[in-house]
């Protein structure tokens, strides 16, 4: 009896589905899908992608060996991705790298007579800082005359979000979180004006003409596919298109270089003389037992993520500032770090499930269970700036993780005072150490705590009751 279950997010491709369970991921193919994958799998481009790790490790197995039967005639197993992340949690550089990977694999496939069915960033995952394509079912035998089926999707889910950020300085994440289909052609046409001072490469063709062509042929029943094929729309032309897109994507730059928290570590008023003792406290707590997964909430430049990484299998490093995460990603990427996954996550607004029935892409709390959570220099921001009560924060940590390392700034901490500057007197009087300890001890057993030498912060290591 199979204990693997179909992934709720795997339903769009009728020829292949993903099943998860028993510590593995299985991709199963129907008869038609199996014929396609059999025909393309031994090709050089596919083997190269597997060897380089651009394509997820895949082992072809008998469906019966993983508990599957008809209509599944072929199957492959993949290793579990340590933590599934979504494009709306990625930064500019991450989406850019995912886009370049999509184009690289699509171009290589074309030279082998292979087509790629789609072009969605949901087919890419990050193993730490390394982008990897995870949808082996995306590849199919390409028939002469086939267009690039994923072109519109590539624009809406990769190119337009990057243009939005790079050309307008507007973060794409909220829009991708709002729609699993990305930014529509029509929306992008309205959002992105021309600029004489700052020419926007790719705008004319991929936005303006694309929108005009869509409008022109919206109600047309002309068989454009046949016409295009007859006129010579072949693999070479599509490869030229993809090559030019590579240039456009690689040429878009993240405009903003500074944000509220990007200079955090260097800012004088917030340099902690107690950093060393805090690091030792965190190290001792994390190293007290083997950890599979650690979440570092409010990770900033990742100092504590790195400490946790030395004593755990995998760290998910989150911060509510995308620029901070973009920097961390590029640093980790330069190191080829595959143990720390940097994500742009604002826990006060992380989003729920999106897509079909709200289950296609579940919210972050339904995608992993950390063994231990670190919340360092973060709860005062959630409490005072975003008005999430301490009790509610501790309830969330209690639901999320069996262990917690948490830093509580006291009412007289300089940053707390700063956050309270323009608040009405008295509305955050319950933000104090005594109340925090009362709430914490109602939910957790405090294993150790330390007053940092700054004298205005206490750090706790606590176990869930």
């Amino acid at each position: 009896m199979s204990t693997i279950q179909q992934d709720p997010g795997s339903f769009r491709d009728p020829l292949s589905k993903v099943f998860v369970g028993d510590g593995k991921v299985v991709r199963a193919f129907t008869d038609m899908g199996a014929k396609d994958i059999d025909a393309v799998w031994k090709k050089k481009s596919m083997q190269r992608a597997l060897e380089s790790g651009d394509l997820i490790e895949s082992t072809i197995v008998e469906p019966s060996s993983v508990g599957l039967s008809a209509p599944w005639v072929s199957a492959m197993t993949h290793p579990l991705v340590p933590f599934i992340s979504y494009p709306y949690e990625w930064t500019f550089s991450m989406l850019q790298d995912a886009a370049l990977l999509q184009l690289k694999l699509s171009r290589a496939a074309l030279t082998d007579g292979i087509g790629v069915k789609d072009a969605t960033p949901y087919n890419v995952q990050f193993i730490g800082s390394r982008a990897q394509f995870i949808d082996a079912g995306s590849f199919e035998v390409r028939r002469k005359g086939d267009p690039w089926y994923g072109y519109q999707q590539f624009c809406e889910m990769f190119l337009y979000p990057l243009m939005l950020q790079g050309y307008l300085g507007v973060g794409f994440q909220q829009m991708l979180r709002g729609s699993v289909n990305g930014i529509s052609i029509d929306t992008m046409r309205k959002l992105l004006p021309a600029s004489v001072l700052h020419p926007r490469k790719g705008r004319l063709t991929h936005v303006v003409l694309h929108a005009a062509a869509q409008k022109r042929y919206a109600d047309s029943n002309v068989d454009i596919k046949s016409q295009a094929a007859k006129s010579g729309l072949n693999a070479q032309v599509l490869d030229a298109t993809m090559k030019k897109l590579e240039g456009i994507v690689a040429g878009i730059n993240l405009g903003d270089k500074k944000s509220t928290w990007s200079e955090y570590s260097e800012r004088g008023h917030y340099i902690e003389s107690s950093l060393d003792e805090k690091q030792k406290f965190v190290r001792d707590a994390v190293a007290s037992a083997p950890r599979k997964q650690v979440w570092d909430i409010g990770c900033n430049d990742g100092v504590f993520s790195r400490i946790a990484s030395a004593h755990s299998d995998y760290v998910v490093a989150m911060d509510a500032d995308p620029l901070v995460i973009d920097r961390l990603y590029n640093t980790l990427k330069a190191e080829k770090n595959e143990k720390i996954l940097p994500l742009y996550v604002d826990l006060t607004d992380s989003g729920g499930g999106v897509g079909w029935r709200g289950q296609e892409r579940p919210g972050i709390f339904n995608r992993g269970k950390p063994d231990i959570v670190m919340a360092l220099a973060v709860i005062h921001h959630m409490a005072i700036t975003f008005h999430v009560p301490l009790a509610s924060q501790l309830d969330m940590f209690h639901d999320l993780s069996p262990e917690l390392i948490i830093e509580m700034p006291h009412a007289d901490d300089p940053m707390v005072k700063k956050l309270l500057t323009n608040k009405r007197d008295g509305i955050h009087d319950d933000f104090n150490l005594a109340e925090f300890e009362r709430l914490l001890e109602a939910r957790f057993t405090v294993k150790s705590k330390m007053l940092l030498s700054s004298g205005t912060r206490t750090i706790f290591y606590a176990i869930r009751k």
Binding site: Q152, A213, Q214, A240
Partner: protein, 60 residues
Amino acid sequence: MFSYLDAASGSMIITAIAGGMAGLGVAVKMWTARVKSKITGKPMPEFDSSAEDDSSSSHD
């Protein structure tokens, strides 16, 4: 053989145009064929993809 996404007509034309010179030739041919069809009143000849299907070999 079976992409589950539709290639929208407008998007298909842009994939040709965006390919530069090679693609421009495709766009011109498509436009010329449409003009000819309109002038002569004859429908455009159909493209027989199966007859040319040797996709497992190499580029087309």
